[in-house]
C-alpha cells in the first residue's frame, strides 16, 4: 500500500510509469508468455472499447442494453463490405472506420427511438431481440443476393495500412522484429486512450449530468427540463458509435468475421465486464474488460495442469471456465455489488448502511423516523 500512497502523491510520475508500462507491455508479455498472449492483449483492448461504449448506455444513462454486440457487428460488417474482395471494394481504413461508427450510431438511434418508452427489464428484452435480429440477418443475407456470405462469414478483409505500411505484417525497427499483434496493440491502445478521453469528458459535462439524472429518476429529470427522449437517444448513439468503431478494428485485425462472433453471449460478457469492474466508473470498466478477457484465456491452462497432475483431463477447461466465471459473478454480487473498482460515490450508495456510524447522520434518521 505504501507504493500506492507514494504514487498517489505524485500523479505525474505515476502517469509516466503507466505510460512506460503500457509501451513495453506487449514485449514483456510476448517474451514471458508467448506471442499468442499479445493477441489476447489486443482483444482485451477491443473489449475495453466495447465496455467503455456500453458503459455510456448502462453506467451513465442507466439503460439496460442486452443487444450491444449488434453495433459491434455493424461496424465489423461495414468494414468488411468496404474493404475486402467480397464486393471488390478496398477503401482505406480512415474512411471506413468513421463510417462504421456512424452507421452504428444511426442504428443506435433507430433502435432507441421506438424502444425508449420502455424501462428496465422491458428495454433489456427488446434490445436483446435487436441484437439477435442483427446476428440472424448476417447469418441469412447470403441469398438471394450474397451480402454477408452467411454463416461462412467474410474473409480476406483488408488489414489496417498507413500507405504501404500494413499492420498485418511483421516489420523491423532497429533490428527488432515487431509482429502484427504488437502493431495492432499500439493502434488499439491509441483508440482506447481516445475513447477514454471522450468518455471522461462526456461524463463530466452537461450531457453527462443529464444522463445521471435520468438514471436516478426519469420523471424528476423531465420535470427539470431535460428532454429525456433525446438525451437517452444520445446515450444510445454514443454507445453504439464506440461499438461500431471497435467492430471495424476487430474486422481489420482478425481479417475474418462471421455471425458467430456476435452472439448474445458477447453482449452479456460486455455487460459483465462493466458490472464486475464497477458500473459508471471508467477505471473499473477497463479493469473489468481486461480481467474478463484475460482470465478465460488463463483458465485454458487448467487442462494442462490436470494432465500434469492426474494424467488426464477430467474436467473440460471450457466447461470449467464457465463454472468458475459464474461462481465469481455470484460471489461478486454477494460481497461486492458495486464492482471491483467502483467510483467512490457508488461505493457509498451501496454501503450507506456501513458508514452511517462514522457519519454524523443522526439527524437524517430522526427526520425519517
Amino acid at each position: 500500500m505504501r507504493i500506492v500512497d507514494f504514487l498517489r502523491a505524485r500523479p505525474r510520475l505515476a502517469l509516466l510509469l503507466l505510460a512506460i508500462l503500457l509501451a513495453v507491455l506487449p514485449f514483456l508479455v510476448g517474451a514471458g508468455l508467448g506471442k499468442s498472449w499479445v493477441r489476447v492483449l489486443d482483444f482485451a483492448l477491443l473489449y475495453v472499447m466495447l465496455a467503455l461504449g456500453l458503459n455510456i448506455v448502462v453506467g451513465y444513462a442507466g439503460l439496460l442494453d442486452l443487444g450491444y454486440v449488434a453495433f459491434y457487428a455493424l461496424g465489423a460488417y461495414l468494414y468488411a463490405w468496404l474493404a475486402s474482395p467480397h464486393f471488390g471494394l478496398h477503401l482505406p481504413f480512415w474512411a471506413v472506420l468513421p463510417l462504421g461508427a456512424l452507421l452504428a450510431g444511426v442504428f443506435g438511434v433507430l433502435l432507441g427511438a421506438p424502444t425508449l418508452r420502455l424501462r428496465g427489464d422491458y428495454l433489456a428484452i427488446v434490445t436483446l431481440g435487436f441484437g439477435e435480429i442483427i446476428r440472424i440477418f448476417m447469418n441469412n443475407l447470403d441469398a438471394p443476393i450474397n451480402i454477408t456470405n452467411g454463416p461462412q462469414g467474410m474473409n480476406l478483409i483488408d488489414p489496417i495500412a498507413f500507405g504501404g505500411f500494413a499492420l498485418s505484417k511483421t516489420h523491423k525497427f532497429f533490428g527488432i522484429g515487431v509482429s502484427n499483434a504488437h502493431l495492432y496493440y499500439y493502434l488499439f491502445l491509441a483508440f482506447v486512450l481516445a475513447l477514454i478521453f471522450v468518455a471522461m469528458r462526456l461524463q463530466d459535462s452537461r450531457i453527462g449530468r443529464a444522463w445521471a439524472a435520468i438514471r436516478e429518476d426519469e420523471v424528476a429529470a423531465s420535470a427539470m427540463g431535460i428532454d429525456t427522449r433525446n438525451v437517452k437517444l444520445l446515450a444510445f448513439a454514443m454507445g453504439a458509435t464506440f461499438g461500431g468503431l471497435a467492430g471495424g478494428l476487430f474486422s481489420a485485425f482478425q481479417g475474418f468475421i462471421s455471425p458467430e462472433s456476435f452472439g448474445l453471449m458477447e453482449s452479456i460478457m460486455i455487460l459483465c465486464m462493466i458490472v464486475l469492474g464497477g458500473m459508471g466508473h471508467i477505471p473499473g470498466v477497463i479493469l473489468g474488460a481486461v480481467l474478463l478477457t484475460v482470465l478465460p484465456e488463463a483458465l485454458r491452462y487448467v487442462g494442462d495442469w490436470q494432465r500434469a497432475l492426474i494424467g488426464r483431463v477430467a474436467v473440460d477447461p471450457a466447461d470449467l471456465r464457465m463454472l468458475l466465471f459464474g461462481c465469481a459473478l455470484i460471489l461478486m454480487m454477494l460481497f461486492r455489488p458495486e464492482g471491483l473498482w467502483p467510483s467512490r460515490q457508488r461505493k457509498r450508495e451501496l454501503h450507506a448502511a456501513d458508514e452511517v456510524a462514522e457519519q454524523e447522520s443522526a439527524s437524517v434518521y430522526d427526520a425519517r423516523g
Binding site: F197, V198, R201, L202, S205, R206, I207, G208, R209, A210, A212, A213, E216, D217, V219, A220, A221, S222, A223, M224, G225, I226, D227, T228, L234, M238, Q345, R346, R348, E349, A352, Q359, S361, S363, V364, D366, A367, R368
Partner: protein, 263 residues
C-alpha cells in the same frame, strides 16, 4: 376592481375549464383559476380532491381531457414536461424526487440544463464557450444552495440529507431552471411546527425575490398565513377562491373539510 382586460394582463398562469378523467372517474371537472405575477397562490382541499392531479396536468405529466392551461399567454397543457419547464414553470414533488446519488450541488446543476446549451461536441472539445458555461452553471448552483441555506452541504449526496434539507434542495433545483412560476406540492408535509414556520418564512423570502408561487397544501393554517389568494378544490371541483380569510369563512369550504352537517 379590474376590468377583464386588465385582469388578463395581470395573469401569469391561466387555468381555464380544465377537466381530467381517468376512465369514467372525473378527477378534475371544469376547474378554472388564475395566478397573478408576484403572489403566493394557495391550492387546498381534502385528500383526494384533485390537487396533485391538477398539478400534473399543468406541468405536462398528465394530458388534460379538456380545457386549457396558459403560462404568460402560452399554452402549456399537453406539452412534454421539459417544454413546460422551458416556458418557465418549475415544480417540486409531493414525495420528494431528488437525484439521491448525486451531490446537492450536482442536483442543482442539473436544474440549469434547460437554460444551457453545451452538447456532445462541446463536452468533448471543451472549448472556451463550454468552459464558461460550465463555470456559470457551477457558480449559479452555489448561489442557489446559499439561498436555501445548503451551501455547506454542497458535496453531500442528496439522499443523505435530512428531510427538511431535501425539501429545500428540491426547491433550489427547481429555481435553477429560472421559473416565472414555481409550483410546490405539499412542501411542508412531514415537518414539525417549527420547521413549518421556517418554511413559511422561506416562501415569503422567495416571493420577495420575484418568484410567483403556487402552493399545494394540506396544512390550512400555513396556507392561510402566507398565501395572498387561495382556491379550494373538493371532488375535482373548485368550490371557493379568494382572499384567505374570506375563503376560510365560506360555508362550502367548511362543509368540505368538516362534513356537510357541520356547516
Amino acid at each position: 376592481m379590474f376590468t377583464m382586460r386588465e385582469a388578463e394582463a395581470m395573469t401569469l398562469l391561466d387555468v381555464e375549464r380544465v377537466g381530467k378523467r381517468f376512465g369514467g372517474l372525473a378527477a378534475l371537472d371544469d376547474v378554472s383559476l388564475s395566478v397573478r405575477p408576484g403572489e403566493i397562490y394557495g391550492l387546498i382541499g381534502p385528500n383526494g380532491a384533485g390537487k396533485t392531479t391538477l398539478f400534473n396536468c399543468m406541468t405536462g405529466l398528465y394530458r388534460v381531457s379538456e380545457g386549457t392551461v396558459r403560462l404568460d399567454g402560452r399554452v402549456v397543457h399537453n406539452r412534454p414536461p421539459h417544454e413546460v419547464v422551458r416556458q418557465g414553470f418549475a415544480r417540486t414533488f409531493q414525495n420528494i424526487r431528488l437525484f439521491p446519488n448525486m451531490t446537492a450541488l450536482e442536483n442543482v446543476m442539473v436544474g440549469r440544463h434547460v437554460r444551457t446549451r453545451a452538447g456532445v461536441l462541446g463536452a468533448v472539445l471543451r472549448g472556451a464557450r463550454t468552459r464558461d458555461e460550465e463555470a456559470a452553471i457551477r457558480a449559479r448552483a452555489h448561489e442557489l444552495l446559499q439561498f436555501v441555506g445548503l451551501e455547506r452541504k454542497a458535496r453531500v449526496l442528496a439522499g443523505h440529507l435530512a428531510y427538511g434539507e431535501q425539501r429545500r434542495l428540491e426547491i433550489a433545483r427547481a429555481l435553477a431552471t429560472e421559473p416565472k412560476l414555481l409550483a410546490l406540492d405539499e412542501p411542508v408535509a412531514g415537518m414539525n411546527p417549527s420547521e413549518r414556520r421556517q418554511m413559511a418564512e422561506f416562501f415569503l423570502k422567495l416571493r420577495d425575490s420575484g418568484v410567483t408561487l403556487l402552493l399545494i397544501e394540506h396544512d390550512v393554517k400555513l396556507v392561510m398565513g402566507v398565501c395572498d389568494r387561495v382556491a379550494v378544490l373538493d371532488y375535482g371541483k373548485k368550490i371557493a377562491e379568494g382572499a384567505p380569510d374570506a375563503v376560510q369563512r365560506d360555508p362550502a369550504v367548511i362543509a368540505a373539510y368538516l362534513g356537510v352537517g357541520a356547516a
